[in-house]
């Protein structure tokens, strides 16, 4: 499509430029992206997630500033950036928990906030979002009922999910009796219970040990292979290599976007953390 082509051209331009020339190229990139995004708004709403010139202002503080991105069906899109970059705000807008100050966001073709889309969306907040006085089963059953699942559906999916997160024997334990890592796994299971088409996972691996983080990313890749679209925020740069595409965020804006390999190549760096720093410093110069 024409819009896709224009973005690829821009990225190619940037990729071909030297580090010292990045400043001017970045301006071009930004301008190019804005133009492309205006067209995306009209053309690419069929993408599972589409954000167009989104802004969110909290009493004069711009948490999200002219953010545009899209996530294709069956793609893992990683939104990376330091704390306060605007990742959580962007996800909360996509989940209908916040209203944008300007711009638009679409999930599965519906402009959010739209209650109609909620049953096809899974949201895992930064917090565990579990009832600590309830058992694992009671938590899953409650969220299942909220999503309108039948008892039989809850039972079947609960079994499968507990197997997936390797907690089949913990079904009747209170959340308070589980370790932090186990609680994270149950939180993920609650998010997946109603088999959503799109997943918004806000820092799903914060406070999770490296082994568990690796297994989380294995789940995410399995889900992606099953056709589920995911937007994942993280500030662990190294784990973002599992994403199909990455958006670097800083100060509420997207400062770069591409596949992990593309971003590494463009910045001539070995790690995504270094790549982020390159973009971050360039942005600072601008």
């Amino acid at each position: 499509m024409k819009d896709d082509a224009s973005i690829r051209d821009l990225e190619k331009d940037f990729g071909g430029s030297k580090a010292v020339n990045k400043l001017s190229q970045r301006v071009k990139l930004k301008n190019g992206l804005v133009q492309a995004e205006v067209q995306i708004k009209e053309v690419h709403i069929k993408d599972d997630v589409c954000i167009c010139n989104l802004e969110k202002d909290f009493d004069g503080f711009k948490a999200v500033n002219n953010l545009s991105l899209r996530v294709k069906h069956g793609e893992i899109y990683g939104l990376l950036g330091p704390n306060g970059a605007g990742k959580t705000t962007a996800i909360r807008i996509l989940c209908g928990l916040l209203r944008p100050s300007s711009g638009e966001a679409y999930v599965l073709g519906a402009k959010v906030p739209d209650p109609g889309v909620a049953s096809n969306v899974g949201y895992m907040p930064q917090e565990l979002a579990l009832y600590r006085n309830l058992t694992v089963h009671e938590n899953l059953a409650f969220y299942g009922e909220v999503f309108g699942l039948s008892k039989r559906q809850i039972q079947t999916r609960e079994q499968a999910l507990l197997k997936l997160v390797d907690l089949e024997t913990s079904k009747n334990l209170l959340i308070d009796e589980l370790s932090g890592g186990m609680q994270h796994r149950i939180s993920l299971a609650c998010t997946l219970l109603h088999q959503p088409q799109v997943l918004f996972l806000d820092e799903p691996t914060v406070g999770v040990d490296p082994d568990l983080r690796a297994s989380f990313w294995r789940y995410f890749e399995e889900l992606r292979d099953a056709g589920i679209t995911m937007l994942i925020t993280t500030h662990y740069m190294d784990e973002a290599r599992h994403c199909d595409r990455i958006g670097f965020m800083r100060g509420g804006s997207l400062i770069a976007e591409g596949s992990p390999r593309e971003l590494l190549e463009l910045t001539h760096t070995d790690s995504l953390e270094d790549a982020f720093l390159v973009y971050s410093q360039t942005e600072g110069l601008q």
């Binding site: 049953s119 979002a129 409650f142 969220y143 009922e145 909220v146």
Partner: protein
């Protein structure tokens, strides 16, 4: 609104309660303790109060009127001691070893007899039993004065004389055998439900916000109205259970008489619980942490405790303060529950209070829903 989703919330709240023993204790043990303490402390009448009698009367023949009066003192109330001089007796009150001095003047018997036979020249003070009481505590001084008055009346009656005017208050329209606990028990039940439901909802909702569960729920198909309704039903059930336990204790331990329909009482209390739940959700918007939520406790408890007619009637509250009483939902709940329990009134008579509670419930629940629905 989908009932099944609201019901899922109700089940969740009740399960949460079932699994949390501390919360269970707070809901049931704390009010039980309160009603028991109040019951024990307030049901007892004033007993064994030490009074000092200064009897300067002289007998006529071999008996004196003062002795007859003293013999008619209710000894369960008055513990009588004697002193020779008024100064000595007053000294005992001043050093807190007695609560009142009862003085019979000299020639009391003769003076009373002379007056009774029509001699008007006898000075009034010669026929007066003087009580010098420590009135700093009316709860003690009033029963002393009552006991002396009663003994005087009983003595005169024993002499075959009738007072020209008599008052008969033995027949009651309501509450024939009511004691003070009958009056305040309905109030305590309402205050317990009000306080605990508001506080628990407030803490639960602050918890929903801080734990992220509220975000997860608001991102799900669950509507805000379903969440509020689910909580309302849960706390209505908890309120009914609480009041059933409290009423049972009041009846079994303190012989509180229930004249009216218990189910109507439960209905009113469930309504109060729903009002409290709405208020709890509203207040939760102003607290970011559970510690901040606790700071609302005095605001929730004190006005309701002092101005809702729990211990003294609204009529005893200064006129300028009464509007505050009338904006407290507990005022209507206490009045309605008390009317059902003590007076045996039905819905046909308590409906103004029920309507007031329904209005409070409607306003609070709608505001709570709007506040949850409002997106920044």
């Amino acid at each position: 609104m989908k009932a099944s989703r609201a019901f899922a919330v109700t089940k969740r709240v009740l399960r949460d309660l079932k699994n949390d023993r501390r919360q269970l204790a707070l809901i049931f043990i704390a009010p039980l303790l309160v009603i028991s303490l109040f019951g024990v402390a307030f049901t007892g009448n004033v007993k064994d109060v030490r009074v000092v009698v200064v009897n300067s009367d002289t007998a006529v023949g071999n008996s004196s009127l003062s002795d007859k009066i003293i013999s008619n003192f209710d000894t369960s109330v008055l513990n009588v001691a004697y002193a020779n001089t008024e100064a000595d007796a007053v000294g005992q009150v001043q050093n807190s070893s007695a609560s009142a001095v009862i003085v019979f003047p000299s020639h009391f018997t003769q003076s009373v007899a002379a007056r009774a036979s029509g001699q008007t020249s006898i000075p009034q003070e010669n026929t007066t039993v003087q009580i010098l009481a420590d009135k700093s505590n009316p709860n003690v001084s009033d029963p002393i004065i009552g006991a002396v008055n009663s003994a005087v009346a009983q003595t005169i009656q024993g002499l075959g004389r009738q007072a020209p005017v008599s008052v008969d208050s033995s027949n009651a329209i309501y509450g024939a055998n009511a004691q003070f606990i009958d009056f305040f028990a309905p109030g305590i039940i309402c205050i317990a439900v009000w306080q605990l439901t508001t506080l628990l909802t407030l803490i639960s909702f602050v918890g929903e916000r801080t734990s992220g569960t509220l975000f997860r729920l608001l991102a799900s198909p669950l509507k805000e109205s379903e969440l509020v309704a689910g909580y309302a039903v849960a706390f209505g059930v908890i309120g009914i259970t609480q009041s059933a336990v409290l009423l049972s204790v009041a009846v079994i331990l303190f012989n509180v008489t229930i004249v009216g329909d218990v189910l109507l009482t439960f209905g009113v209390i469930a309504l109060l619980a729903i009002v409290s739940e709405g208020l709890g959700i509203l207040l939760s918007s102003f607290a970011r942490r559970e510690a901040q939520a606790i700071q609302f406790l005095p605001v929730i408890v004190l006005p309701a405790f002092l101005l809702s007619g729990v211990f003294w009637p609204i009529q005893a509250i200064p006129t300028w303060l009464r509007p505050v009483s009338y904006i407290l939902p507990t005022t209507y709940a206490v009045e309605a529950v008390r009317s059902v329990i003590l007076r045996g009134w039905g819905l046909d008579k308590i409906y103004p209070d029920v309507v007031a509670l329904l209005i409070f419930a409607g306003v609070f629940l709608v505001l709570a829903t709007i506040l949850l629905r409002r997106r920044e």
